[in-house]
């Protein structure tokens, strides 16, 4: 199942248009330039470019999809940095791999929370 990542990398290659599309917007180019100096949170970027958080999330999403930016959520803060395309190939691969797993685990957390809730309710029913 690990191969999915490689397939996706290949699809990304075939869809380089995305990358160029991502660069067609002045705000997004500005975000890249800003991240070239240091990492920043979505909130920082929204303030700097005088946009709503939702608007900035969309721009960052486009850059992320194009592989130009990566984001990492620690606590409630999502930090953005320049994407793996600037890193060594192996580091880039591991970084993408970590992102894939990070996304998976976020969804797994939700499933586990739901099952825990269900167990508690079932437990109460049995006791009742």
């Amino acid at each position: 199942m690990w191969r999915i990542l490689n397939h996706m990398v290949q699809y990304r290659q075939a869809r380089l248009d995305d990358s160029f599309g991502a660069l067609s917007d002045a705000t997004r180019r500005g975000v890249l330039e800003r991240l070239g100096r240091s990492d920043a949170s979505i909130t920082d970027l929204a303030e700097k470019f005088q946009m709503t958080l939702t608007g900035m999330k969309k721009h960052v999403g486009v850059l992320e999809e194009a592989g130009l930016v990566t984001t990492e959520k620690v606590g409630r803060v999502r930090t953005c940095k320049l994407g793996p395309r600037r890193l060594e190939e192996e580091t880039a691969w591991l970084d993408r791999y970590r992102q894939l797993w990070d996304s998976r685990f976020e969804a797994l957390d939700e499933v586990v929370e739901e099952l825990k809730r269900k167990e508690r309710i079932d437990g109460r029913k049995k006791r009742g």
Binding site: H7, Y11, Q13, L32, E65, R76, L115, K116
Partner: protein, 172 residues
């Protein structure tokens, strides 16, 4: 930023680590806030598994998900990605130890496929998950990591373009 992270920790979210532990192995670890029996269930019941294995943010959808979770049983997942040809991932389970260990093969890659070992270690109501991908050879792992042949040059060009655009933006 750092101060805020300390003030507002998100207890629901734990850190994912990925490490190349040897020439042939990559290990992913993450703590899940639930007991091992529940996490194990999320790995082995198809209706639960398909809710988390395919990250929405990657633009993938799961067309089918068959998991016959017992020693010798097979699994088969079929994905589609942005209208391209569906991709199938398949293999078989070679160890199934409820609530503590799952081992499966990855056969879509032929001989170069990794063997995935998942361990579930419960500590105080939480589960430390470790996913080991062990490749048959260093070459097979390198091939996986280095499968971006032909991509480097294109990306170098893109990098140059980004730098140029960044410089333009800085001036404007």
């Amino acid at each position: 930023m750092d101060a805020r992270r300390e003030v507002e920790p998100d207890p629901m979210r734990n850190r994912t680590t990925v490490e190349r532990t040897s020439e042939r192995e990559v290990v992913v670890t993450r703590t899940i806030n639930g007991p091992a029996r529940i996490v194990f269930e999320a790995f082995t019941r198809p209706e639960l598994f398909k809710r988390w294995w395919v990250p929405k943010s990657f633009g993938l959808s799961l067309l089918s998900c068959e998991l016959d979770v017992r020693v010798g049983g097979t699994y088969r997942l079929v994905f589609s990605h942005s209208g391209s040809e569906p991709m199938a991932f398949f293999g078989r389970y070679i160890d199934v130890t409820p609530h503590s260990r799952l081992v499966w093969t990855n056969e879509e890659a032929g001989d170069g496929g990794a063997v995935t070992t998942v361990t579930f270690e419960e500590q105080g109501g939480k589960t430390l998950l470790a996913m080991h991908d062990l490749y048959p050879s260093k070459g097979a792992l390198d091939a996986g990591i280095g499968s971006t042949d032909g991509m480097s040059e294109t990306l170098d060009q893109l990098d140059e373009l980004v730098v140029t655009l960044g410089a333009d933006y800085g001036r404007s």
